[in-house]
């Protein structure tokens, strides 16, 4: 078995590496040991920032602040009372702080937890922001943390910093911590929960429609990342034995950011390689700042030159290979072996969806006026109208992206007006988007698996230790099998391991439907499924939509401009024009309705056609 082979290889590698670390002090001097330690610590920091930024897509510039919290918490716990009373010169240390003490390992865990706690406090308000604003706000928090540390002398000894911290960070400590962090990260990212994290990064809107509470996921990932930041900071403090507020300036965050960019955003392997390269490069470049003698010619060291060269290298990496060394790929033992080939659903005539006097206004502009609709089980209903009629707005109101200004929406007898998209999805509704919104960087199979996450029972934290919580492995396997089954039914099985963005257009549309079906909906909204299809393709699509309804026992509401599709496939049709619900009826009734003809072809046309 391939997985057994890979596991054995991994274990052998870990044992060999442990032997290397054991013997290292015999042949490596203090300087090299320190660099090895720094590589491990930087890798922990890079992995944690990568989880926040590369994997979950939250641009955070606050890592240095969380490192500072970790470093101070750990240092204050491992310093002896005698050392502390000698160090606080300008102001007295808080008495309770003088005598607290903890073993190093406990201090590491508390350091991580403290940073995670502050991370959670920061995340709850700040993660409502997105993009660059999030970056700036987190940068702001990191600076505030640093300013607080500088000014709260009785707690932190102010700008003097802490000295003489016991050098507890040994090679086994730093690499051991990295090993644990790495194992947990890899397990989590391999589980379906990891897929959810990447889905939030790739397309938050689509992720919400998969029933995912994206805000909660982001807070979780951010807090976990902060734990790593605190842990890394604590290890760092116990390695250099001195900490002060200046150590944790924005430059520190930039260093970590550089590691993950050089290694490849979103790649775990990349973070490890990146920290190896950046750490050794920064150390090696010190030579340009020391005087050198070549053939009796003295070249004086140039202060600042190291960072000049380093920043130039960084700019070059970004310009010429912006995806970094690994891109989003990961290391796998498989690269050393030639490739080999691999490889449930739940009555009738009840009302599924009912809209009563639904209104939607944006400021003074009325997007939808008094929409009334009743859709019964097993029906395929069309929503049509000219451009700007408010069709997609109606979809957005039904699926929870917009809150209706007034009116009620009942789904399976429950009121859902104003619920968020993830709640609407959990209630049994799913949709596709006019402009396809797939998680482009994920494989076809993973896209579908993310849709199944809301039906899984295991908690996110179990994915950190799947060997203990075997439900993770079991449930992920079930979901995988169901997803394969779905792909099979939709004729996408051949593409299972392809990247979603590489699929041809028509297949991408079917994949979006497959992903929607993975949430096991009872009601499916299709936004322009025939957009961009030729007549033959739309012919196939019509058969496909009916087959969907039959095989998955669905009720379907679709927006479509292709009148041939609408008239052939729909049992009932609603017509919107400029937000007004102008007509409803069977395809035959709609075809001869003068109001509809007027809306499409303008006034006068209906008389012409009637004549």
């Amino acid at each position: 078995m391939k997985s057994v082979r890979n596991l054995i290889l991994t274990i052998i590698f870990v044992i060999l590496f442990a032997v290397f670390l054991e013997k290292a002090p015999e042949f490596l001097n203090g300087y090299w040991q320190r660099i090895l330690n720094l590589i491990a610590i930087n890798a922990i920091l890079a992995l944690s920032l990568n989880l926040i930024y590369g994997i979950t897509g939250m641009f955070s510039l606050g890592h240095a602040g969380f490192m500072a919290i970790g470093a101070y918490v750990s240092a204050l716990l491992v310093l002896s009372p005698a050392q502390k009373s000698a160090m606080w010169i300008l102001e007295d240390i808080y008495p309770f702080l003088l005598n607290v003490n903890a073993p190093f390992v406990v201090s590491l865990i508390l350091a991580g937890l403290a940073a995670a706690f502050f991370g959670l406090l920061v995340a709850l308000p700040v993660l409502r922001l997105g993009g660059d604003y999030l970056g700036i706000a987190t940068l702001g928090f990191a600076e505030i943390i640093r300013i607080l540390i500088t000014n709260m002398a009785p707690l932190t000894n102010g700008s003097l910093g802490l000295k003489g911290i016991p050098a507890y960070t040994t090679l086994f400590m730093s690499w051991g911590c990295l090993g644990i962090v790495l194992l947990c990260t890899v397990c989590m990212l391999k589980s379906n929960f990891g897929g959810v994290l990447r889905a939030v990064r790739d397309d938050e809107v689509a992720a919400k429609m998969m029933g995912i509470n994206t805000f909660k996921i982001k807070v979780l990932a951010f807090t976990l990342g902060c734990f790593g930041g605190g842990l890394g900071g604590a290890l760092m403090g116990n390695l250099i034995t001195t900490i002060d507020p200046k150590m944790f300036m924005i430059t520190q965050t930039y260093n970590i950011l550089m590691i993950i960019v050089v290694g490849g955003l979103g790649s775990v392997t990349g973070s490890i390689i990146g920290s190896f390269l950046v750490t050794t490069m920064l150390e090696w470049l010190r030579f340009v700042e020391n005087p050198i003698t070549i053939f009796n010619i003295n070249i004086p060291g140039i202060p600042g030159m190291r960072m000049v060269i380093f920043s130039l290298l960084l700019i070059m990496v970004i310009i010429f290979r912006r995806e970094g060394i690994m891109g989003m790929r990961e290391f796998s033992w498989d690269i050393f072996f030639p490739k080999r080939k691999i490889k449930d659903f739940e009555s009738k005539t009840e009302t599924v969806l009912e809209l009563q006097d639904v209104k939607l206004k944006f400021g003074g502009l009325s997007a939808i006026e008094n929409l009334n609709m009743k859709i019964r089980h097993w029906e395929i209903v069309g929503l049509i109208g000219p451009n700007g009629a408010g069709k997609t707005s109606a979809f957005n109101v039904i699926s929870g992206f917009y809150k209706p200004t007034s009116g009620t929406i009942k789904f399976l007898g429950k009121s859902i007006g104003g619920l968020s998209p993830d709640k609407v999805c959990q209630a049994g509704m799913s949709r596709t988007f006019q402009n396809i919104r797939l998680f482009g960087n994920e494989t076809v199979l993973q896209n579908v698996m993310i849709g199944s996450r809301i039906r899984q029972k295991y908690h996110w934290w179990m994915s950190l230790l799947p060997f203990v919580f075997t439900d993770v492995i079991k449930e992920d396997a079930e979901v995988r099998a169901q997803a394969m089954n779905l792909l099979d039914q939709l004729g996408l099985d051949a593409f299972a391991d392809e990247k979603a963005s590489s699929l041809p257009y028509g297949a991408q549309r079917r994949l979006e439907i497959a992903r929607a079906l993975a949430t096991k909906p009872r009601f499916l909204l299709l936004d322009e499924p025939a957009a961009g299809m030729n007549p033959q393709e739309s012919e196939e699509l019509m058969k496909f939509i009916r087959r969907l309804r039959d095989e998955f026992d669905l009720t379907i509401l679709l927006i479509e401009h292709d009148m041939k599709v609408v008239m052939n496939v729909c049992d009932y049709i609603h017509v919107l024009d400029q937000g007004v619900h102008i007509a409803e009826g069977t395809p035959e009734e709609i075809k001869s309705n003068p109001k509809v003809i007027e809306a499409y072809l303008g006034a006068g046309a209906s008389e012409g056609s009637a004549a």
Binding site: V126, D132, A137, I144, T150, M258, L314, I315, I319
Partner: protein
């Protein structure tokens, strides 16, 4: 608080605020057009200060000549940064340009350490700017304190005229609205982007020169903190809005100076105010005071 002291604080706040505003304008123009936080902008500001230092103090040129040369030199540097580090990345994901900006910032700072050395150098202020003017009610002011806000307001006024009354200004506003459509309209987008970088750098140079005169010294990392604060001012005012950047700068200047003036015990926390202000506005009005609301299309 005595009137004299209050007026001193007021003038201090006004000049600090208008300096933040001048730098913030450069951030806001570039962000409005490219959605890029030009992290190197604070370092461009530092270059302006160094250039005027070398021109007038080392090479003993007259101040007027020195100032003009410094502005030209800094503008060229700003244009070079765009050409070398940002232009190749126009089609790349935004993060790439951002990382490149961080790299450029590192580069300029450390290059300054290599060329100018890391030692802070004192700036000799021209005596004419420092001779106090006394008023009958006992208020004393130095001309520099008045010169700084006056120059800043004039320049921002001129920039607004350029943005709203001239063709390149129209093109710049069009690009910030929709870069692709503007390109279709036959506007040479790269030239207009260069113009934005050039104008921003020239204003940063003026701010750097005045900063060097007010806090009479120059050093390679002098652009870092004012740079970040000016960016905060730009976000506070509503990123993309030039008047917003100026207003944001002034508010930030007043908050910093007045909080310390009225509560001297808080002086250690001075730098935290800017960030607190930033986080508050981001939470309650993420688009800033004058910014426009952008929504994701579903």
């Amino acid at each position: 608080m005595e009137l004299n002291i209050f007026v001193q604080h007021f003038i201090n706040a006004l000049s600090l605020g208008s300096l933040y505003g001048l730098v913030a304008v450069g951030y806001t123009m570039v962000y409005g057009i490219l959605r890029l936080i030009n992290f190197a902008h604070g370092d461009i500001f530092m270059l302006g200060a160094y250039f005027v230092y070398f021109a007038t103090i080392v090479y003993k040129l007259p101040w007027a000549v020195g100032v003009v040369l410094a502005i030209i030199g800094t503008t060229i540097c700003g244009l070079l940064v765009d050409r070398v580090a940002y232009k190749p990345l126009r089609e790349a994901p935004r993060i790439s340009a951002l990382i490149s900006a961080i790299g450029v910032s590192f580069f300029i700072e450390n290059f300054a350490v290599v060329v100018f050395t890391g030692m802070p150098r004192p700036v000799v202020q021209p005596p004419i700017l420092m001779k106090p003017i006394e008023f009958s009610n006992g208020v004393r002011l130095i001309p520099l304190g008045i010169l700084v806000p006056v120059v800043a307001f004039l320049l921002v006024g001129a920039l607004l005229w350029l943005l709203y009354k001239t063709k390149p200004g129209l093109a710049m506003r069009a690009i910030s609205f929709d870069i692709e459509t503007t390109r279709m309209m036959g506007v040479s987008v790269n030239k207009i982007i260069a113009l934005a970088f050039g104008l921003g750098s020239a204003l940063a140079a003026v701010a750097g020169i005045m900063w060097a005169l007010r806090y009479p010294r120059v050093e390679p990392f002098m652009g870092m903190t004012p740079g970040i604060k000016a960016f905060i001012a730009a976000v506070f005012g509503g990123i993309g809005s030039v008047p917003g950047a100026m207003i944001g700068g002034l508010i930030l200047g007043f908050v910093e100076i007045m909080s310390v003036a009225f509560f001297p015990t808080l002086s250690g926390y001075k730098d935290a105010f800017a960030f607190l202000l930033l986080i508050m506005i981001l939470l309650f009005r993420p688009t800033g005071l004058l910014g426009e609301k952008l929504e994701d299309k579903i």
